[in-house]
């Protein structure tokens, strides 16, 4: 997946987008290779969607450049569009058409000839398991089915790059797993480059061959999920104790990092499971203890200095958040 000599599918150079004074995307330099499943991970407002919108030519950069499949997004947007498929964060299928009609219309907008079009519609419907519902109005589809239809539509015209903006936002856990399955499968079967944004750590960890962690318009960390987790330096032990005193850890080389938040102490520890006994002996009486294997969450914490709070982002909410997003993008 990560062959170093693959062609560059996406490059950005000093890519910047400002809305008034706010730099939504701030001097971004990024290379994505052909065949990668690349994840942009970060909280809402980090600039992920703006980055996508710049790459898919729906927004013009304030400064800097970007290319997709070697084509400049500013100089030749029409050509870029032919090379990409997009699944937007907010739903974008036509409710008053059937699933099949949505796909056919898409194919026509991408100039697919009739024969190929009919064959491909059946193919992608098969892939997302919507064949038996293809003639029903999209209105009657569940949230998960709509998402699948959008995925199918994004694939219709054999794009070189498929952009997925928060592909599982607002879906229930079971449906999310379904969608993950499809994404993993199509990345393999259709052999395309996939760029996805997400604020689910789990999603990025599971699907992506490489991840860029984004915060306030910048990429703050970049690498394979494994490498990023390794960089954190170990597992995290969270203990709760009143009046924690750092000095008790003196001489314990296995503790790499200490961070105190209220009565919670976050310790980065090598091989926490094996070393817990020694650690607790040194710390003394605690109210509770929790061992967490290194996760992307910790990576985020390490690079941004902030906790990654999914619950605040309305991860399960969906609608209200989506509406807000739509409004903020309109300016």
């Amino acid at each position: 997946m990560l062959a170093g000599n693959n062609a560059q599918m996406i490059t950005t150079s000093h890519l910047t987008k400002r809305f008034d004074k706010l730099a939504a995307v701030d001097n971004l330099n990024l290379n994505i290779e052909e065949g990668e499943v690349f994840g942009l991970l970060g909280p809402n407002g980090a600039g992920k969607t703006t980055t996508i919108n710049l790459l898919i030519t729906l927004l013009k950069p304030t400064s800097g450049t970007a290319t997709v499949n070697g084509i400049d997004v500013v100089k030749n947007p029409a050509q870029v569009r032919k090379n990409i498929g997009v699944v937007f964060q907010e739903p974008s299928v036509d409710d008053l058409l059937s699933g099949k009609e949505n796909l056919e219309m898409h194919a026509m907008l991408y100039s697919m000839p009739g024969e190929l079009r009919r064959k491909r519609v059946e193919e992608v419907l098969e892939l997302v398991e919507l064949t038996d519902r293809k003639d029903d109005w999209v209105k009657t589809y569940s949230g998960g089915m709509r998402r699948r239809l959008e995925l199918a539509r994004g694939l219709m015209h054999h794009p070189k790059v498929l952009f997925l903006d928060e592909p599982t936002l607002g879906l229930d856990p079971q449906t999310r797993q379904h969608i993950w399955k499809y994404i993993a499968r199509l990345a393999k079967e259709e052999n395309m480059t996939v760029v996805l944004t997400t604020h689910y750590m789990e999603e990025a960890d599971l699907l992506c061959s490489r991840i860029g962690i984004m915060d306030r318009g910048k990429i703050v960390a970049l690498g394979t999920p494994k490498k990023l987790k390794h960089e954190v330096g170990g597992d995290v032990v969270i203990i709760r104790q009143d009046g924690f005193d750092r000095s008790c850890l003196k001489g314990l080389k296995l503790v790499k990092k200490v961070k105190v938040e209220g009565d919670e102490v976050f310790l980065t520890v090598e091989h926490a499971h094996e070393n817990l006994q020694r650690l607790l002996a040194a710390v003394g009486k605690v109210k509770s203890v929790e061992v967490r294997e290194a996760s992307l969450n910790d990576v985020f914490l390490k690079y941004t200095g902030r906790k990654y709070r999914e619950e605040e982002e309305g991860a399960e909410g969906g609608w209200a958040e989506r509406t807000m997003h739509a409004e903020s993008q309109r300016d």
Partner: protein, 250 residues
Amino acid sequence: MAFEPGKIYAVWLREVKRFTNSKARIVSSLGQPILFLVALGGGLSAMLPGFNYLAFILPGIMAMTVMFTSIFSGVSIIWDREFGFLKEMLAAPTSRETIVLGRILGGATTAVFQGTVMFILGMLFTGVPIPPLMGIIGIFVLMTIFSCYLVAAGIAIASVVQEVETFQLLMNFLVMPLFFLSSALFPINQMPSWLQDISGLNPVSYAVDGMRGMLIGTSTFTIAYDFGVSLAVLLVAFLAASYFFNKTSI
């Protein structure tokens, strides 16, 4: 601007399918004009002996039907924006003019279809004799031009306004005045002079006047003049629609 007939067809087809998929929309958009024709036409005809008012307002009611559907179709870009579908179109390798053109033709198809239904109903129930073939063709052409410029105007407005909340407001404050302040319901030359002035500035008056001329043989202006004004308005509206839609963002 590249001419992309296949893609224009795709956008056209969507408009038509949305229309035929929704039986409710077809029925509801005919209800009001029929009510106008029956209640207003029937009622006033009884008060004006010797003057077939029903025949007089038939072209006005046809224009009303076309107006409602056309402007609704153009302005519904606001809904496409709200429900996300506009992004699908804007992200496709399709020029903005193609989208505008496809929508205009699609909206006009559905509107002219409804205008035709009103025309047939009128022929059946108002006692207006069926006009000669040239007249019928003329009526269709003028109705199509009329519809196209209204869809285009709707697109231009929707590209600028963008808020769903203003949708109803637009429909009320645009369609109603355009309709009532035109020659649709009253003969221009019998209006008070201030209304004549407004009505003369209202493009709808010319479309109605031309249709009336070809349908029942009475018109204030010459048919050629009515066509000329309508074509000029179409050109301006199309340019405005293209210009503003080009500037629209997601």
